[in-house]
Symmetry: C2
Subunit: 340 residues, 2 copies
């Protein structure tokens, strides 16, 4: 088992990350809708990481990682590979810390993500998602330039940084006088949900934690079944561009298989419905990959009945056409959340 | 001057309203975007009242008003006339307080507003905006049923309730360690901005306060010029359905002419651009009328350069088609907020 040899973050690392990002990361709100609650027969709280700096939770881990580099490491810059949200998080965190950043992104990433990553001052190198391996390209650049590689999820600092989402959820629900019966987040490489487990347990141990993947990218679900890291077959597609990791990370899987209650999946159509419901009832813009946890609650796979459930809306970086298509896909004469 | 005889709320009334709505109204977040800040050369904080219960600030005033009614008044129910946001606010506040509500709404109000008002349990009576007078209809119903009329803006309890937005802005900016150089909000009948002036002054007197109207509904701007309440000519149209009041209220104008620094106007095209910028950079859904203050900042009419400016995004109840049209109206190859 290589798992025994890899560095795993713990609860203290999440608390340390919270100190590092304090005053820089947004303490994103927990939103709710009375109509939605009535529809679900319970209380649904939405952690709106769409309102985070750079439009997704990824800023948390990126800042935690880069700020912890030595001055020597900072001086040679950082390199990252990402479909877009990690790219923006790294680019902006590096910018704030005065560190040069090179980001390797798929050529077919959403235009908004490519544009914003450049706007945060990073150099962007694109690659062909179906023919080239982004990790190889990233490692090549790191080897040539001496830049430190900032991995998207399989790194203890990244996981600890994302874990601050879990810390905040506990703090905020305590402030609201309630205790969540379940907490639900998306899974791409598993960094957010792994960190959340640590962050939750640092404050209020044992709340059931669920991950959600797109139907055709259910590598973590299958890995939990077999007990070993399974990969997704190549050539699959989903509108959830943020959740297309090939397989679970070593560190993330080591944490997730211990902590996760279960991993569920949702369809692209359910994701579009969730985006439309967030538009109408929560007034937030959620990207496809950021909507899977909400989709799991709306579809009933995670029941909210007579319970308090927290779902993470993890990002909002979506192109206008994709957003409009999601809203158009709904039959508004018979809306998904019946309100009469 | 009838102004001397009308009841005007004061700062204490806003503090009392804050107590009444505590734990029921959402303490909505102040959002910001680093890219937007860089574009504007300053700091823009957006008070996201789109995340308020019922999707707009109107819940605050409605709850404050209805909760302060006597048991006798509550027993005969309430009636209100509204284009939609006040309707939803009254309907939901009445529902929470166990009070029957009848709402008079224009037949051409956004479908989402009509639907949601009914969903909150109110009886909805529609009228023709161009041929009937909603105030007459509302008063008729009140006279027949004995129901208490809940005015949309010209009422001290309504103004005081909306003023809690101002209180929160001051509290939140203090928590953030900054002091706003200007605060900007929309004007329909003027209830929100009048209340905000009181709420701000209760905590941090003297911050410059600006109102914004649609170009063709600039009754408050002209009234400030002439010193008397001017009306908008009939037959005008704007996409800002929430801001189509015929003239300033008596109480609201009495307060606003003392407190407002100035009243500005924006075009429907500028409103659409602001909606698109909120979509891309803030990840929130803002309706046309809720976007005018942001539009004033983006257009430069309110300068953010080297300053901290707070704008209120007052509501997010917009039909999907209207929202998609606003996003489509932007040339995304040359986005309104340059990010590179």
């Amino acid at each position: 088992m290589t798992d025994d040899s890899i560095a795993l973050p713990n609860r203290d690392d999440v608390e340390a990350a919270a100190q590092r990002i304090q005053g820089l990361a947004v303490r994103t709100p927990l939103l709710e809708s009375p109509l939605l609650n009535r529809h679900l027969g319970g209380r649904l709280l939405v952690k709106a990481e769409v309102a985070q700096r750079t439009g997704s939770f990824k800023f948390r881990g990126a800042y935690n990682k880069i700020s912890a580099l030595t001055d020597q490491e900072k001086s040679t810059g950082v390199v990252a590979f990402s479909s877009g949200n990690h790219a923006q998080g790294v680019a902006h965190a590096a910018q704030l810390l005065g560190v040069a950043a090179t980001i390797v992104m798929p050529a077919d990433a959403p235009a908004i993500k490519l544009r914003n990553t450049r706007a945060y001052g990073a150099e962007v190198v694109t690659y062909d998602r179906d023919r080239e391996d982004r990790e190889d390209i990233g490692r090549d650049i790191a080897a040539r330039s001496g830049a430190a590689l900032v991995k998207p999820f399989d790194d203890p600092y990244i996981i600890a940084g994302q874990g601050t989402v879990g810390l905040e959820i506990v703090e905020q629900t305590i402030e609201m006088g309630c205790r969540p019966d379940a907490i639900v987040g998306p899974i791409g490489g598993g960094g957010l949900i792994a960190g959340m487990g640590l962050g939750l347990d640092a404050k209020m141990p044992g709340i059931p934690l669920f991950g959600v993947e797109p139907d055709d990218f259910d590598d973590t679900r299958r890995s939990l079944d077999t007990g070993r890291r399974e990969a997704n077959p190549p050539g699959r597609h989903s509108i959830c561009d943020a959740l297309l990791a090939a397989s679970p990370g070593e560190a993330t899987f080591a944490l997730n298989r211990e902590r996760l209650e279960a991993c569920l999946t949702v369809s692209d159509a359910e994701v579009q419905t969730a985006m439309a419901v967030a538009f109408v009832h929560l007034k937030i813009v959620v990207e496809p990959g950021g909507s899977v946890a909400l989709a799991a609650a709306l579809s009933g796979r995670i029941s909210c009945r007579d319970r308090t459930v927290v779902v993470v809306a993890s990002g909002g970086n979506v192109d206008p056409d994709t957003f409009a298509a999601a809203i158009d896909a709904v039959d508004w004469s018979a809306p998904p959340v019946a309100i009469s």
